[in-house]
Subunit: 274 residues, 2 copies
Amino acid sequence: MTKEELFKEIKEKESFLCVGLDTDIKKIPSHLLKEADPVFEFNKRIIDATEKFAVSYKPNIAFYEAMGPKGWESLQKTLEYIPKNCFTIADAKRGDIGNTSSLYARAFFDKSASGMSFDSITVAPYMGEDSVKPFLDFDEKWVILLALTSNPGSKDFQQLSVGDEKLYEKVLRTSSQWADSERLMYVVGATKASLLKEIRAIIPNHFLLVPGVGAQGGSLEEVAKNGMNSECGLLVNSSRGIIYASNGEDFGKTAAKEAEKLQVQMADLLNQYL
Amino acid sequence: MTKEELFKEIKEKESFLCVGLDTDIKKIPSHLLKEADPVFEFNKRIIDATEKFAVSYKPNIAFYEAMGPKGWESLQKTLEYIPKNCFTIADAKRGDIGNTSSLYARAFFDKSASGMSFDSITVAPYMGEDSVKPFLDFDEKWVILLALTSNPGSKDFQQLSVGDEKLYEKVLRTSSQWADSERLMYVVGATKASLLKEIRAIIPNHFLLVPGVGAQGGSLEEVAKNGMNSECGLLVNSSRGIIYASNGEDFGKTAAKEAEKLQVQMADLLNQYL
């Protein structure tokens, strides 16, 4: 999916919502456990319930990997089921030497090899340029690079001073030379909405994937105010706040309600700041 | 496996060799492709051929992941096949917020969930303490944290100055507070053998996993001279130099020969520096 196509979806749905499919077999409603593939069944119903309100879906790969080979089958089926007009993100936080990263790219982008072809993958920056580049060798696929994350541990290294800037700023500045905003996005945690303005000064045009709105307490209003650009430039993720909003048989309806609440706010914010 | 048990194996085999199972279906000898599971068949023969000379095996997870669910089945079977006295490393470079890292830990350490229980996993440090700690919640399992890697991209961020030290030194110093040398090891690329002395000053007791000897040109002699401690403290990995030493039907024999060459050098170095 191109940046232009993504922006078109955002305008049509009046939403920049990404639904995080952090689907834990230990947390889904118990009545689904009788299904042949409970994880896929859960995802299917979540997607059905939320697709009107979301422009993107982000399976968190750890949750599927934790189930062994059958988890990967659930993941494949889930990816197939996501409507083609939605931007798909493999939230995998991969990254290794070039030779190995090219295999990770094969895993998430080359359907003939792995059975899956996501639009994008999240990548960790620690190993530098040659660990990121192999993902960009696939046409029309995106890298979403970790810059500033929303967890407490982001203080340990990301926020250290490197010369006259923070490490995450250095990561933004350096990596923005590797690909333009048509192929590269960044993960920027919403708990630092106040820093979004400074981040926008470094990368005005790139899309930002913003986790941590909702459960982790970030404010959507602040994110839009400081982070939106002329093509929206934001994908805001909500996982647990939507998919686990109810643990009963009504979990689909409740997920839809939560997704719609965010979409309505997002429509307002798009009107206000775009 | 405990540190004491690992050191015992090293002394018995007179080896600190780790064989990297970077098994690419596109590179294995063609006569294996008629097998039901060519990747497992290849690994089985490599393990049979090298187990006398190696104390550790390190499947590179990307290579299995690139094949989808059946790759994970090959990985499970490979792990089952590795002799129990060998230290097993899931070279996965994972790391995410705490909640997600605990699922990655489940994937590689909890056999009841994923079908696999490695002794250790490689982890990327960028997201800080709470992204690493969940892996340490599993008793007797190890984290092998990326510090200084052997690829060109290690210059981009790892070698930047943070105050009066390099980022990778800061990673060593900070993370060595999270767990002691009974649970934590580090990845240190052999192409920087000259830096090993300085690294040893920061973490005298931790084991180092050293990739990049052989194919990438690091010198085993230099690594041992600068990196060995009183419990050896080194696992030196060789992947392509062993497993792809021959592409013919004799690949097992050739792998054994290459592994033995390294083991003989290692025996000498253990005598000299231990």
